[in-house]
Symmetry: C2
Subunit: 457 residues, 2 copies
């Protein structure tokens, strides 16, 4: 049993579909954030479920690590290969296998990116709402239980997948869930694989729940005097049950980065970016109600963007925030935090995070999905400066520790990977060993993405 | 190791909280539907999580079966005790442990009923949307992954619980999820326990996601010439992304039962019952749009109910449909089907079900949550007539078989229990053994609700 044996067998099966090229190994072992290179020993490019099944059968026989690879945009080292093995790159599995407009579902392969899906759906009157910042693959989004700016209205990947095709550690192919909208037929295996980061199986198809494109959309930016006012506005808005599709927070540092890198013209203060979906009169009415709430909390400088190009520009700026901030500090890399807290504690958590960043002496803009209580600090560090990495880790620990004390979580949407493994015992307490039990039951040899998410005996 | 030893130890620990009374054993072994009596050997009434933990520790030592019991309203025999053992009745655990209006969450004990929760929340401006027909307990609703008339808008129990407190088979107490709205921190244990029907652990607290009471609500009944027209109306309405809170179907037989038993005055044809939530102008606009769509499909006889008492009467009639139908045939019992199919196949599935019922020579009204593709046939049978039970089972098998062929599920919301266990292998295929693996990992002695939902080695 060895990785070398696995590579030998795989090259027979996959031929050109297995690469040992040094540049490809390094590309698949790199991280979007601060983790050092951890390259696999080979990269497989399956074209169908049967090939994924063969790859896992062989790797199971040879006890060879297997790491699923989508777009490589995860932030906690999920797609890296710290124990070597085979990266399974899904870039040749990008088909839409089925699209049913009446049922409002699409069955897609894991390598399809969310932007490519959006293009395919544009003419149908339907859309898929989940939108992490990166142009991630849908398989990767499912594996990390991703969300984004629209979760406040449409939910995360958990709420938008009705079934999965999964290849298990030993090569068996299973189907979870159905094409129906709901089911009470036994254990919710679909949810078990969503967010399992490739440690329980490799997802080879996803049944996605689509939504009808709203008749009207309007977006706005609004400035607030401080964090507390902006968050109070969010709480009031949610309680009124306004059908917000997005309600995003950016702090002063992020607003300044937008001005500097994306040509924005925002005052140097915290802002909310909001969007409403509905009928023409509905969004008009909601916009007015939101305007009143915002004004009550000192909101000012409203700019409503009803035209599609203005809205697209606004949300493109928001989605590119991470890269704008990276580009504003050439040569630096980032450690990105991702805590999520009960909304009643959000202002306190953000204020304290800003103080943590000041104490650490770092540049660290904050932005987040405040309707969910989820925010990110993008802590900029010099990758060759161990003191900066230590300071960033210390600030991040402080934010996580506070979030857990508040009844929240270490990660709202980025997942665990290698970067947050050390928080799991504290967050889950007595439930933590249960995750190991499940891992042992489904992947007894521990070949699936070892060293990530879960501890295994 | 024995049930008798367990009872002896439990009586020491629980005192008056353990009952051996024949009438209580029979009450806890009865079924809401056609299953014969299957009584436990004792009924425990724990008052706190610690007592549940002690019960499970003892029953684990003694390999004694343990069956969670809420309101006893499940339809597939989930709360019965075919292998004897201890029924754990949660009627003394009904507290709201925490209610946070700002966070829009409530932490409740499993014995609280959905109507009692509704009463507690009435003054807060918040509500909990999931509404199965029965006044079930929230613990039971979580255990069966229940839904109801509002799932089309608000989701099922899966989408409305952010965390659980669970006592495992060996008595360990765990907490899944957090008080935050979302999390990507490892395996989704919350979803694993939701719908597990007490076979993986006993739920002792639930963190529920609450919603803001809408500013305005309006409901309506509308008659249609046939099933196909009514379903076509539903599909068009969903695709327009109207914020329907409810869209329910009743067939001709159900409409007649409403007339006979609930004093309604409905024409003898299929109907849709709908409800919209939103602002005053929003619901007005949606009602008009829905009226236009319904008219396109031959809908007529619209009655809008904007007054609270009229709406309450309408939905009370809908929620009581099962009992109205039962009462219309004194001395009979019911076998209730629960298939859920992709909406594009719904009209075909309902028409075929009506034909199945005619072939079987049974009285079997049909009604359902058509926005989800989920419908029920209430097959009325004489409990002492084996031919009628056989005919009903055969009709139900035919409906399930068709639903599975259509890419649907044997159960949209009632769960598996004993009644649908034989469908599991066909519905899940290669995924079916995985459920047994998970059961073995979490309940190796098989003490938790044995004989239900899952096959165990």
């Amino acid at each position: 049993m060895s990785i070398d044996n696995a590579i030998h067998k795989l090259s027979t099966v996959l031929g050109e579909g297995l690469s040992l090229s040094k540049s490809e190994l390094e590309a698949h072992g790199a991280s979007e954030t601060y983790f050092p290179l951890a390259a696999p020993d080979a990269v497989a490019y399956p074209t169908c479920t049967e090939e994924v099944s063969e790859i896992l059968s062989i790797c199971s026989e040879e006890a060879c690590p297997v790491i699923g690879y989508g777009a490589g945009t995860s932030l906690e080292g999920q797609s890296q290969a710290p124990r070597g093995g085979i990266a399974v790159d899904f870039s040749k599995m990008t088909r839409i296998r089925q699209l049913s407009q009446e049922d409002m579902i699409a069955v897609v392969e894991p390598g399809l990116t969310r932007e490519a899906l959006g293009e395919e759906l544009r003419a149908t009157g339907l859309f898929f709402p989940v939108d992490p910042g990166a142009n991630a693959t849908l398989g990767g989004m499912a594996a990390t239980r991703a969300s984004g700016t629209t979760a406040v209205r449409y939910g995360t990947m958990r709420e938008n997948i009705t079934g999965l095709e999964v290849v298990l550690a030993d090569g068996r192919v299973i189907q979870t869930g159905t094409m129906a909208r709901k089911s009470a037929a036994g254990y919710d295996l679909t949810s078990l694989f969503i967010g399992s980061e490739g440690t329980l199986g490799l997802i080879t198809a996803l049944t996605l729940r689509l939504r009808g494109q709203p008749e009207a959309i309007t977006s706005a930016i609004c400035a607030f005097p401080d964090v507390r006012s902006a968050v109070a506005c969010v709480i009031d808005t949610i309680q009124l049950d306004l059908a917000m599709a997005r309600i995003e927070f950016v702090d002063t540092a992020t607003a300044c980065a937008f001005n500097e890198m994306a040509g924005a013209d925002m005052p140097a203060c915290p802002h909310l970016l909001v969007e409403f979906h509905g009928s023409e009169t509905g969004v008009q009415e909601m916009a007015e109600m939101f305007g009143d709430i915002a004004a009550d909390h000192g909101g000012s400088g409203f700019e409503w963007a009803a035209r599609r190009e203005d809205r697209d520009a606004l949300w493109k700026m928001r989605h590119n925030a991470y890269w704008s901030i990276l580009q504003s500090r050439p040569g630096k890399t980032a450690l990105v935090t991702d805590v999520c807290v009960p909304i009643s504690r959000l202002a306190e958590a953000v204020d304290a995070a800003i103080a943590d960043i000041e104490t650490a002496g770092l540049f660290g803009p904050i932005l987040g999905h405040v309707g969910d209580g989820n925010f990110h600090a993008i802590l900029m560090i010099d990758p060759d400066n161990p003191d900066e990495l230590a300071a960033a880790k210390s600030a991040a620990e402080s934010m996580v520790s506070r979030a857990l004390d508040m009844g929240g979580t270490a990660t709202g949407e980025h997942g665990i990977g290698m970067g947050k493994l050390h928080y799991m015992e504290r967050e889950h307490g007595a439930a933590w060993p249960l995750m190991g039990d499940i891992k042992n039951a489904l992947d007894p040899k521990g070949i699936l993405n070892p060293g990530k998410l879960v501890a295994q005996d």
